[in-house]
Amino acid sequence: MATAAVSAERETYLNKEYGIRSWLLTTDHKRIALLYLASITFFFFIGGFFALLIRLELLTPAGDLVLADTYNKLFTMHGQIMVFFFLIPSIPAVLGNFLVPMMIGAKDLALPRINLLSWYLYIAGGALMMYAMVEGGVDTGWTFYTPFSTAFSNTHVVEAGLAIFIAGFSSILTGLNFVVTIHRMRAPGMTWSRLPLFIWAHYATSIIQLLGTPVLAITLVLVVLERTLHLGIFDPNLGGDPLLFQHLFWFYSHPAVYIMILPAMGVVSEVLACFSRKRIFGYGAVAMSSIGIAVIGFIVWAHHMFVAGISLYAALVFSILSYLVAVPSAIKVFNWTATLYKGSISFATPMLYALGFIGLFTIGGLTGLFLAALGIDVHVTDTYFVIAHFHYIMVGGAVMGYMAGLHFWWPKITGRMYPEWWGRLAALIVFVGFNLTFFPQFILGYMGMPRRYWQYPPEFQILNVMSTAGSTILAVGYLLPMVYFMWSLRYGKVVGDNPWGAAGLEWKTSSPPPTFNFDEIPEVTWEAYNYDQIPVPEEAWLE
């Protein structure tokens, strides 16, 4: 295996070939991961920009920054871009693409050219979405509810719908690639029960991507057809049922939230184990709970429709099922906590994000249970309570998981270490900013402030001001890593194969890895998370 220093002669995936063609026509999963990293970061900041505009408008009770119609477009674009062009791809397309082959001891994914096609589909969808935005945006809410989206909205629903349709195929192909790879390309000795939990998480995520996204695809097609050809399947004027749209839409979009959170849970498992120097407690339970979340996640969708007009009996069924889906998530939280117990804990940046994840995801998850109760949901649905709930999971959970993963694997990906103290500072800023932004929203929602409203009664102003203040702090917390990650590429400390002393095959090759990942394919004879056999690293960043 290659030793520490990045010498000019040692070939890595970064210096194997230069030039834009070698990047745009690459089939190397690691380069494709970086292509995704650049693109989703771009969309993250666009979505974040819309969020800031929303928060700015909500500083005052009156609608004084933008017009009402513009405000509708702001929250729609924020949602669509963040969900479809940032969160859904984020961890799988960046960290998953980079690490799945490495973690199982393979040279690349099973279908490298399909992987590249995936990225191009994402870019095509993204470009069409940008076009829709520039041409005036969409104002239907990210949920495209009919009949507004099909019959009444005057905005670019068709373009946005098609953009998401195309990006959906990117997601499907990524999932397909991962399933085939994990089944077919594990190194000798890498049995299913020795797989890192990151892999189990991505496998479960891929199942959802494969089986859920097509339903969104057909739903968007039907919306586009109804809007352009006036087909009339969702049109109440013809006896069509607007709720049918919601059933079909949420059949995908609820499992979609598990696409967003499962990979983050996978990251958290890896990070927690490393910075407690212990194996994950209850490996089997955590692995099976990933699959459990994926499957049960498909049968709870109508909890988004409790007050929309579904029958009471259906609502009862979906309410009970929604309680069921919390069980595997809770199993994970308990197992992670047990992992920490009597571990040798160190508070490196990835660990700070992972610990933050556990706390914030738990709050988000528990408030989800509140929402699953019909009696409470009737009161707080379509209020800021719901917004706070899902942001706790998606930002406090998924994004923090993504940040943990980026920091943890950054030295592997680039061969450089980011500045640790800046990393910890940014993590802290994110944590504080996040809670200041979203905790007041639970209270606002409970007090009755509706979501998607551009004006509000004056008594809600203080909490809104707190929330906006928090959002600016959060923005700083996200900008800092942009800066120091870029800085580290040139000035960061050069690292060896395994700066964290972590378990996992990806740490047994050089940083950055060679193009085909391993000089020789390893043969695995040890269990996952064999921290009893790995010495604590000597480098100073774990002080």
Partner: protein, 201 residues
């Protein structure tokens, strides 16, 4: 390919879900709409498509056995049958156009209302049947077109001798796709054409 076909099951599944719900709600209109479809052309199309599945399956076998000429002939036959299917479909759609059964501005099922007074047809609900009819057969036809393109590619490659017992994966994968599109039609046929053909009292 099987994983991709699983995604296609869910893709068409969304439309089957819509169909199921509206058939439950608007059975009389669905029955009337179904009767207005030409059962003979539908049956012919089913026969044609199943025949093309046979030629595809025999083609894969020919590739397995290294019989290049036979493979090419079978692939061309598949193409011919596939195009025949699309041709019949076009005829059926034209009929629908003439009868004003295409949803949109000139939609009218006055003819069905007259023909089946006992069903008390609501024109708007009938429009939903036809919307689903065109959406489902349209999506199916689109998949057929993609299949035709795929098979043109396979035929050319087969002609050049690319496939043999050592390597016939693309033929097999193309075959799986084609069979899947056939299976979708096997369900569409009874669901759209055979809802209620009982002799009326």
């Amino acid at each position: 390919m099987w994983l991709f076909l699983a995604t296609e099951v869910m893709f068409f599944g969304g439309m089957f879900c819509a169909y199921l719900i509206y058939r439950f709600w608007y059975y009389p209109e669905f029955a009337a709409g179904s009767r207005s479809l030409n059962i003979y052309l539908g049956t012919v199309n089913t026969v044609v498509l199943i025949g093309s599945s046979l030629t595809v399956a025999l083609g894969v076998r020919a590739a397995q056995m290294g019989k290049r000429k036979l493979l090419v002939i079978l692939l061309i036959l598949t193409l011919i049958l596939g195009l025949a299917f699309l041709g019949v479909k076009a005829v059926e759609w034209h009929d629908k156009y003439v009868e004003h059964h295409i949803p949109g501005a000139s939609f009218s099922v006055a003819d069905l209302v007259r023909e089946y007074p006992q069903l008390h047809i609501d024109q708007r609900h009938a429009e939903i049947f036809f919307s689903l009819y065109f959406a489902m057969t349209g999506m199916h036809a689109l998949h057929m077109v993609v299949g035709v393109g795929l098979f043109i590619y396979l035929t050319i490659k087969a002609w050049k001798g690319t496939y043999g017992p050592q390597y016939y994966t693309p033929v097999e994968l193309g075959g799986l796709y084609w069979h899947f599109v056939d299976i979708i039609w096997i369900y569409l046929f009874p669901l759209l054409y055979l809802i209620d053909r009982k002799p009326l009292k």
